[in-house]
Each structure stands twice: as structure tokens, then as C-alpha cells.
């Protein structure tokens, strides 16, 4: 099967209408096994250390509330009504006609979140959103918009999961991010789909002067296929973008997950760091940094470990269009170094213990600077995933 065939989704096989509508007061009303699935996607079902929660279930929103002044959380449909169709933001970053998935998402919008901070508001606790699929042959299409107003800060944690009962599903997600002057957006996404779920997100962000965008993407669980390529335009002087990804391709998974940063203004900086492991699946990791202004700096780093027969295809790309841009990349695909295994074996660890210690280090998420509780749950997911790795 060619790459194109693997990435092609048969849209007609999925049902985009008729999902049951469920309004929930509390995430704990969801059945316990599904709560566990959500927790494995980094969702705090008790909502203890969260500024707000948005839960989208199949075709409609189920929970939507802000606990903190300074951050507005709405279902996208309500936001479109309230703000006259959001003319500044709706389909302004992502091209509606980009491909068949954007066209489908334009045709059918089930929901999605609209999250906007107030100017100057520093939102301490993260806002969480979860996109949840429960049912058979469900096609879910959401449109998310985040607006970080001037000099404000927010961390948004998105957990994507499917119910333990799901057999097959398709998730289409349009996400548009707008980081205004001096704003800071940290966007952490944890995917916990399942073997028969296909995922086609389309994400574009625009960052203004002095703004910071940081993305953390964690995909440790099996999935049928993912194809995503979030792109950030640094249009304002001194703006910064960073992408950190941790990806694991299990047998049967096809993952094409990359990032692009376009440095369009002076003093901009972009960094893309990804760690990829295959335990039998196919993983393509493209990274592109393009610099059209000076001074501008970009660095791309991709490390891949092949633990058993699988494919890792790292494609680092750098493009400079002005004299004086500074772009660099390093990529490595290989196996665990024997030297590292023997170092640990000389300390009394057997081969399996040594391998798992090294893999845990490789998947370490310290660089993401996550809140303590989320980091603990990611560490838990890593140790659980590890059981299926060797």
C-alpha cells in the first residue's frame, strides 16, 4: 500500500449525524471505564486543578464551563452565534479548501471549543478540553478556536480519547490559534485513541509580536492512522514557537505527524523536537522550519528508535530565503546503543531492565514543563505502554 493509500480515509464509511445528545453536569457521570480512558488522555475528571473544562462527546458538547474569570469557554456554535460568526477567526488561519477533510469539516461542524483569555489575564491552572468518541462508525468533526489576547497566558490541555467500546471512528479537527501581542499559549495534547480510529487534525496558528506558542504532543497509545502537520506562523517581531512531540507507533499504527514553523519577522525563534519509537508501526516525522526574515533562528531535532521491525522516516527540512538566517537540524534513527545497555548491566540491571530504563529516559517529558499531576499521569501511561513494547 502506498503512503497515499494509507492516509486516505473513506469519509463515506463514517456517520456524521444522529449521535445521541448527552448533557453532563460532571465528568464523573461518565461510566468508570470511560473515565479511565479519559484519564489516560491526561484529563482530570475531578477537575481539581483546572480553570475550566470542555467535553465534546461524539457530535455535541457535553460539558462546557469556566471556573475562572479571565477565560471564556464556549461551544464553537454558541460562540459563532454570540460573536456574529467570529469573522476575524473562523476559517482565517486554516484554509477551508485545503483538502477533502477541511471541506468535510466546513460542511459539518459538530462543535468544538472557543477559548479566549481576557487581555492581561494570566490563567494559572490549565483549561482542559476533551474530545471523546463513543459508538460505532462515528465521524466526529470539531472546530476549535483559541484566542490569547494581549499579554495574557493560558495552558490548554486537550485529551482525545475513545470509549473502550468503540470499534471504529474518524476524528476531524480544525484548530485555529491566535496569540496576540505578548501573549503566551501552551498547548498540550494527549492522544488515547484506539486501533481502529483514524485521525485527521488540521491546525494552524498565528503569533504576533513577542508572543510565545509552545506545543506538547504525546501519542503513546495505538491508533489506526494519524496524519497531522500543525503549522505556526511567527508574524510578529520577537515571537517564539516550540514543538515537543513524543510518538510511539505500535504494530498496525500508521502515524504521519510533523510540524512546521514559519519565521516571518525579525528576532523570531522556532524549535521542533521530536522523539519517536516504533515497536512495529510506521512513523513518518516531517519537520519544516522556514525563515523569511532576519535575524531568525530555528532548530529541528528528531530522534527515532526502532525497537522491533517497523519504519521511522524522519524528514527534516530547512528553508531560508534571506541572507543571515540561522537554521540547523539533527536527526538520528537507530537502535538503543549497546554501550548504554552494558553500562546499566554493569550496575546489576538485566537486559530488559536496562532497555526499559533507557526507553523511559528517551520518552522523558521533563522538557515540556508539565504541571506535576499531569506529568505523573503521563509517567503512568508510559509505564503502562511499556508493558506492550518489548
Amino acid at each position: 500500500m502506498s503512503q497515499l493509500d494509507k492516509e486516505k480515509v473513506k469519509l463515506e464509511e463514517y456517520v456524521f449525524s444522529g449521535g445521541e445528545k448527552i448533557e453532563l453536569q460532571d465528568l464523573r457521570e461518565i461510566d468508570v471505564e470511560d473515565q479511565e480512558e479519559l484519564e489516560l488522555a491526561g484529563v482530570d475528571v475531578k477537575e481539581e486543578e483546572r480553570s475550566g473544562t470542555y467535553l465534546h462527546l461524539n457530535h455535541t458538547k457535553a460539558v462546557c464551563r469556566s471556573k475562572q474569570e479571565g477565560v471564556e469557554i464556549l461551544d464553537i456554535k454558541d460562540a459563532l452565534d454570540k460573536y456574529d460568526g467570529l469573522p476575524e477567526y473562523f476559517w482565517k488561519a486554516v484554509d477551508k479548501d485545503k483538502d477533502e477533510y477541511t471541506r468535510k469539516a466546513a460542511e459539518v461542524v459538530h462543535g468544538g471549543y472557543f477559548i479566549r483569555t481576557k487581555k492581561g489575564a494570566k490563567i494559572k491552572e490549565p483549561v482542559q478540553s476533551c474530545l471523546f468518541i463513543k459508538g460505532e462508525k462515528i465521524g466526529q468533526s470539531v472546530h476549535n478556536i483559541i484566542v490569547v489576547e494581549e499579554d495574557s497566558e493560558v495552558h490548554i490541555i486537550t485529551g482525545c480519547a475513545t470509549s473502550h467500546k468503540v470499534q471504529s471512528a474518524l476524528h476531524l479537527g480544525i484548530s485555529e490559534f491566535y496569540v496576540k501581542k505578548g501573549g503566551k499559549l501552551t498547548f498540550t495534547m494527549v492522544h488515547n485513541w484506539s486501533e481502529k480510529v483514524e485521525v485527521r487534525p488540521r491546525t494552524v496558528g498565528i503569533v504576533e509580536e513577542g508572543g510565545v506558542f509552545q506545543s506538547n504532543y504525546i501519542l503513546l497509545k495505538p491508533v489506526k492512522s494519524v496524519q497531522s502537520f500543525p503549522t505556526i506562523y511567527l508574524n510578529g517581531k520577537g515571537s517564539i514557537a516550540r514543538f515537543n512531540s513524543i510518538l510511539v507507533a505500535h504494530p498496525g499504527s500508521y502515524i504521519n505527524s510533523g510540524n512546521k514553523i514559519v519565521l516571518n519577522a525579525p528576532d523570531t525563534r522556532g524549535e521542533i523536537i521530536s522523539r519517536a519509537i516504533t515497536t512495529g508501526g510506521e512513523l513518518i516525522a516531517p519537520g519544516v522550519i522556514e525563515a523569511n526574515s532576519v535575524p531568525a533562528k530555528g532548530h529541528l531535532e528528531c530522534k527515532g528508535l526502532i525497537l522491533s521491525d517497523g519504519i521511522i522516516h524522519a524528514i527534516p527540512e530547512l528553508k531560508g530565503t534571506k541572507e543571515g538566517v540561522e537554521l540547523s537540524h539533527e536527526a538520528a534513527v537507530g537502535k538503543i546503543a549497546q554501550e548504554e545497555i552494558e553500562y546499566l548491566m554493569a550496575r546489576g540491571l538485566d537486559e530488559d531492565e536496562a532497555t526499559s530504563t533507557i526507553v523511559r529516559g528517551f520518552l522523558n517529558v521533563d522538557i515540556m514543563g508539565l504541571p506535576k499531576k499531569l506529568k505523573e499521569s503521563i509517567d503512568k501511561i508510559i509505564s503502562e505502554t511499556e508493558k506492550d513494547m518489548f
Binding site: A337, Q338, E339, E340, E342, Y343, L344, M345, A346, R347, G348, L349, D350, E351, E353, A354, T357, I358, R360, G361, F362, L363, N364, D366
Partner: protein, 253 residues
């Protein structure tokens, strides 16, 4: 503690060790001298059980058991501990966590051990990432303190270390060789304490600085894959610094 009988070792097609016989008794520290490329490091690596060091003849006994074909981790668990010259960096593995892994089931106070080698500030750094020569030595000693081996293999404790750190390293090596610093306590004499646990050492040195800190009992010179010139380490060192290794050639031929 350690008995080596007629040990022949090949690296690739090349025979590096050509019939080594050596016994190190309980509580004894043995010093290995010899020019570069003579096979000293090969002997240590073979004792630890690294891949790529092929024993073609002979045997190694540790605590009475033939360990010639034992995997490395079993040798480590039996009580062989080795300090690495150029250990690899393992990204994402904090020094603190590795020290805990070295201790296996025993409880250790990582902070307290780290204080002894002035290494507390490094505990949250990835192991060996950007460590200088002296920092590597202190990190290795910290891991060995947690591992608490009965036989300590140490390749050039002084290499890459400044004088100030040499004192610290010498002190800790001495402590490791004494079975982790027995201090006099009521109800047990020093002599009785020393009888409790005896640690042996096999140490490679070029400069002999380490001899200022430890009680080394015996030494030998490795020359072209063979051992010769047994004597007191200080005497051997003095001889080498005066005459070089010329006498070894005479001795072996």
C-alpha cells in the same frame, strides 16, 4: 575472592590477553601497571563481562564460582563493581535515579552519599551529560557506593582529575575498599568490624597517585598481554619511573 587461570582473550581476531594467572584474596588490593595497549583495560572489561571480549581459553572464578560465561548483570549482582573511564550519556535518566537503581533492593540515602563526593548539584542532571573528567569519576564513585561491591575494578582513578579532586577520590576509594567506612563503635572493636566484610580491589594506575590514599598490598606489570614483575606497588612504580618497561621485556623473554 578472585582467581584467574590461564586467561586468553581475543578482541576481534587479535589475541590481547595471552595467559593471565592471578589471584586476589579477600580484602586485598592489587595494582596493575603497564604501558598503553598492554591489555590492562581488556582484563577489567573481561572480568566484568563486556561483549566483544572473547575468552578463548582459561577461566575466571569469583567467590569460588566459575563466572567465565556469566552475563554481566549477574556478575554485578554477585558483587563485582566497575568504574567506567568513558561512560555513555543516557538522556532522560537522572543521576539520582541511576544511583537508586545501583542499590537495587537496598535502601540508600542518595543525598547523603552524593554529599560525600560533592555531587548533590548533579543529581537532577542526565547521567554523564556534559560531565567533565573529574565529574565522571565522582559520579562513578557515587554509583559504586550505592552498589557496594565486594570486588572493585577501577581503571585509572586519577585520569582527568585535578589535584583537589584527587584527594576526594582517593578518600572515597579507600572507603569503598574498607567496606564502606567502618567506624569504631561500642561493643565491637575495629578488628572485629573489619572481619565482617572484606572488599578487594583491582586498580589500574599510570601515575601511582592513588597509592597515596589506599593500602595497596601487591602489584604486577602487564606487558603485551602477560603479567610479570610481581612486587610491592611502590617499588614497581619507582622502578618504572626510573627505567621504564625495559626490564619487563627481559623478564618475559
Amino acid at each position: 575472592m578472585l582467581v584467574i587461570e590461564d586467561l586468553h582473550v581475543k578482541i576481534g581476531e587479535k589475541e590481547v590477553l595471552k595467559g593471565i594467572n592471578l589471584e586476589i584474596k579477600e580484602g586485598e588490593t592489587f595494582i596493575l601497571f603497564g604501558p598503553n595497549g598492554s591489555g590492562k583495560t581488556t582484563l577489567l572489561m573481561t572480568l566484568m563481562g563486556f561483549s566483544g571480549y572473547k575468552v578463548t581459553k582459561g577461566a575466571i572464578y569469583f567467590k569460588g564460582k566459575n563466572i567465565t560465561d556469566l552475563p554481566m548483570y549477574e556478575r554485578a549482582r554477585m558483587g563485582i563493581g566497575m568504574s567506567f573511564q568513558r561512560p555513555p550519556t543516557i538522556h532522560g535518566l537522572k543521576t539520582r535515579d541511576l544511583v537508586r537503581l545501583c542499590a537495587r533492593d537496598r535502601q540508600v540515602d542518595v543525598e547523603k552519599l552524593a554529599q560525600k563526593v560533592n555531587f548533590v548539584d548533579f543529581l537532577d542532571r542526565d547521567i554523564n551529560a556534559g560531565f567533565s573528567g573529574g565529574e565522571i569519576k565522582r559520579s562513578e564513585l557515587l554509583q559504586l557506593m550505592a552498589q557496594n561491591p565486594d570486588l572493585l575494578l577501577f581503571d585509572e582513578p586519577e585520569s582527568g582529575v585535578d589535584l583537589e579532586n584527587m584527594g576526594l577520590i582517593g578518600k572515597v576509594v579507600k572507603e569503598l575498599l574498607s567496606g564502606n567506612g567502618h567506624e569504631p563503635k561500642p561493643g565491637m572493636s575495629m578488628k572485629e568490624l573489619k572481619e565482617l566484610r572484606k572488599v578487594s580491589g583491582l586498580i589500574i594506575t599510570h601515575t601511582g597517585y592513588i597509592l597515596d590514599y589506599i593500602n595497596a598490598d601487591r602489584g604486577q606489570v602487564m606487558y603485551q598481554g602477560k603479567l610479570c614483575c610481581e612486587g610491592r606497588p611502590r617499588d614497581i612504580l619507582e622502578h618504572i619511573s626510573k627505567y621504564g618497561y625495559k626490564e619487563c621485556i627481559r623478564c618475559l623473554n
